[in-house]
Symmetry: C2
Subunit: 83 residues, 2 copies
């Protein structure tokens, strides 16, 4: 069945403590090439079929339910590559 | 600066209680087209420059530090689209 992928990330202008912690850990472990980390969420939503209505519905859900619009942005809603 | 995106998802054969909870909520709210939800993580790793060594390094980090290989799979490590 088709899968829609919804990516949600903390807003760029906000601190991301979880990302900061991961970045700190990577720095201490010697991964000097990494200069920043942000951690967000990835939802894989299995749907019955891909229609414009379903994509609209999932896009609405992404903005209203899957993300907290005060602190997060929906980066993308897209169909997953076949796998 | 370039960004590498690392996607981590719970392994397909394992239960994903968080995804189940989201799916249940969506069903109760009447989103009948959704037949399953899985919730994973998305890391945006800012790096100084894209070289094969850095990509190798981040791929190793993704498998050993960013994901718990007992319960999660690294779905992809890729360069983010310019934005």
């Amino acid at each position: 069945m088709p899968i829609l992928v919804v990516d949600v990330m903390p807003k760029a202008e906000l601190l991301d403590p979880q990302g900061k912690a991961v970045h700190g850990a990577l720095s201490r472990l010697g991964h000097a090439a990494v200069s920043g980390v942000r951690v967000g969420k990835r939802f894989e939503i299995t749907i019955d079929e891909v229609t414009p209505e379903v994509i609209d519905d999932v896009t609405t859900v992404a903005g209203e339910i899957l993300s907290n619009s005060v602190i997060e942005d929906v980066v993308s809603v897209r169909e997953a590559d076949a796998r």
